[in-house]
Symmetry: none
Subunit: 399 residues, 2 copies
């Protein structure tokens, strides 16, 4: 019996409300003795930590540094090892493409090929987004026998290709050679059932090459991250939650949509995201609020900038608390230590606030206090049942 | 390989003795800054905590509040998600009925039906136990074609019905409508193989209705919690332990019997339970000692009373220690915070005392110290192998 089967008969649909505030890449590593979170001046979080339960989340299993997809799926309660999602599907969701079950989604990078057909720039000179849009318009006239074809601009040199047909498979190799000075690789089927998909993508790559002959920078395409879209059981189905996702970046909206959340896209600051949360507060019982910049500053290796972004998150907290959620959790999808300039495997700080917490006196919300917190060390996929319990949304298991 | 398979070749049968002292519903939540356990004046436990390992147990998975059945099965090392037990079986075990594999056990509530046959009181005016016994005596003369029928009084309006026949199934709906003003529901088969069982129970309900026509209060029966008894591998089989259960409440005796423990029923106080433990000390290698009232006071929401019951448990502790057990563990089957007046999902404080502990200086035995204890946060099902190890009953795994 998996967790969803265990939960199903226990779920109580109630009006209580849960906020899951995800500060992307929240966890860090000490530089000069303190992590980014421990360095930030964040009065609201530190005060709340004394009235909350602290713990830490292992995103997948110890040692595994997840991407945004598995990081968030874990937070949403979907074991990321059981529910892998391909990068292509994430990209398609991210650009708001209306992807359907069975579609094959592929990440497409425009690249520069030299006269011999070898890749000279894998990003086509960081092609401007407007160029990308212009070129895609032309490529959309292409036809592939036996499949519908969709193309959407992502950003700069990145686009998404979606094929729609019966019997597609994503057991395919990438055409992106991951280096310059060699030609794009042929797309190969890694299992017999992917032969058709491989033929379609290879035909696409060749036609595109032909169509782009006149381009100076973007005269080739590299394909990678092929993924067939398989929908997941929704938050409504597995938790009885009517969930909202508030996010500024397409990928996180896509992750919310994947599990059936209503997506409220915000273009702007965290303050504007908080305003959107207030606006839709009466419509939902679960709110996934995503803040991107704690991750991007960590990826840049900019400790001070990450500290500032955490302080920005702290300034939003009183607005969230003013809504009087029954349960509020603050955590991340993974750690992004400035020291590593990348996602890492380190557990993620977690704070759960509700009327039913075992709190203890702490110096604040930080990695060291969380590691010694009353919640102990959990896996990300354990979070959702805990939040449901704190919100009074779970009945007793067995007699 | 599951845990039992892993353990099997490692088990050493030795004379060393383990006491598992279960204070039901032990864990709590702070009110005025401290939990019940942290408030209690309990010199023996607090002193022992400084010579023991502390930790906390998650009874099932994070967020799940278990009933007594899954709570205890977990403590006994049987993954409660893999070994579900029906309420009917728990009740039959609880009244010391000699249930056999394949028997179908059903909880029977006496109810009051009005002139139209609608339920007017689901508990027959909280029928006195003596009335229950008198009425059952009459019902025992009933005969069902194709099945043996047993009836046992539980308490007040509650009784247990057991059917014995070939091919019984518990894929059945309840006849208890869970509300008044409507007639009892027919028992329906939820799968084809349960048709025979449904017919037998429906015939029973109709005959009982007829037989109870003269009763004023208990003139109907409601059936629920149907469960076929499937024995579990015994403590002897999986751990090589000759186990004793000492408990005042039928259900906990039943849980001990389910895993092959010799049951010593005690009617009386914890002091009398401790005396029984002393009496049978030479006969067994494992002792499950159950103390009920830390749970019932929590369920009543009576913080002060729960504190007093914990102090009562503390007074029994020196007698247990005087027996010089090789290993003594103190924990609960789940938390029952007075604040929630119910079983909860919060981890359960755990103390393990043996000569081989990593102890540290602590203020006492309490939730906060246990959350920071050297054992960390475990699942209840992890406890038994730990106790076996501390008792020197486990050999090395692998070379």
């Amino acid at each position: 019996m998996d967790t969803f089967e265990l939960l199903r008969p226990l779920i109580r649909k109630t009006e209580s409300k849960i906020i899951l505030f995800v500060c992307d890449g929240l966890g860090g590593l000490p530089m000069n003795g303190r992590t980014e979170l421990e360095t930030a001046r964040k009065r609201a979080m530190d005060e709340l930590a004394n009235r909350s339960e602290l713990g830490q989340l292992v995103p997948v299993i110890p040692g595994i540094s997840p991407g945004s997809g598995p990081g968030h799926l874990g937070l949403f309660g979907y074991d990321p090892v059981r529910y892998p999602i391909g990068r292509g599907v994430l990209s398609a969701l991210g650009v708001q493409f209306d992807i359907r079950p069975g579609d094959l989604a592929v990440r497409l990078n425009f690249a520069t090929l030299d006269a011999e057909g070898k890749v000279s720039d894998r990003r086509a000179g960081r092609l401007p987004t407007e160029e990308n849009q212009r070129i895609l318009k032309a490529l959309r006239t292409m036809r592939l026998p036996g499949a519908e074809l969709f193309l959407e601009t992502e950003k700069e040199y990145r686009a998404v290709l979606v094929l729609r047909a019966q019997g597609l498979s994503d057991a395919l190799s990438d055409s992106d050679p991951q280096q310059t000075g060699v030609p794009p690789l042929p797309v190969r089927a890694l299992r017999p059932e992917a032969e058709k998909s491989a033929r379609l993508l290879q035909a696409f790559a060749e036609q595109a090459r032909e169509a782009l002959r006149g381009e100076s920078r973007a005269n080739g395409v590299l394909l990678r991250g092929t993924a067939v879209y398989q929908t997941l059981p929704t938050f409504e189905e597995v938790y009885g939650l009517d969930a909202a996702a508030i996010a500024t970046y397409p990928m996180y909206r896509g992750l919310g949509r994947l599990v059936g959340m209503t997506v409220y896209p915000v273009e702007g600051s965290l303050e504007e995201e908080a305003r959107e949360l207030e606006r839709v507060w009466n419509r939902h019982t679960f709110f996934f609020l995503h803040f991107k910049y704690t991750d991007s500053t960590g990826e840049d290796g900019d400790f001070a900038a990450k500290v500032k972004r955490i302080e920005e998150a702290d300034r939003a907290l009183p607005r969230l608390l003013a809504l009087k959620p029954d349960v509020l959790a603050i955590t991340g999808d993974h750690s992004t230590p400035s020291l590593l300039k990348s996602h890492s495997w380190h557990p993620i700080p977690l704070l759960i606030h509700s009327p039913y917490v075992r709190s203890k006196k702490v110096s604040g919300f930080g990695e060291t206090e969380c590691a010694a917190g009353t919640l102990g060390t959990l896996q990300s996929k354990d979070l959702m049942p805990l939040l449901l319990a704190h919100a009074g949304k779970l009945g007793k298991f067995g007699a």
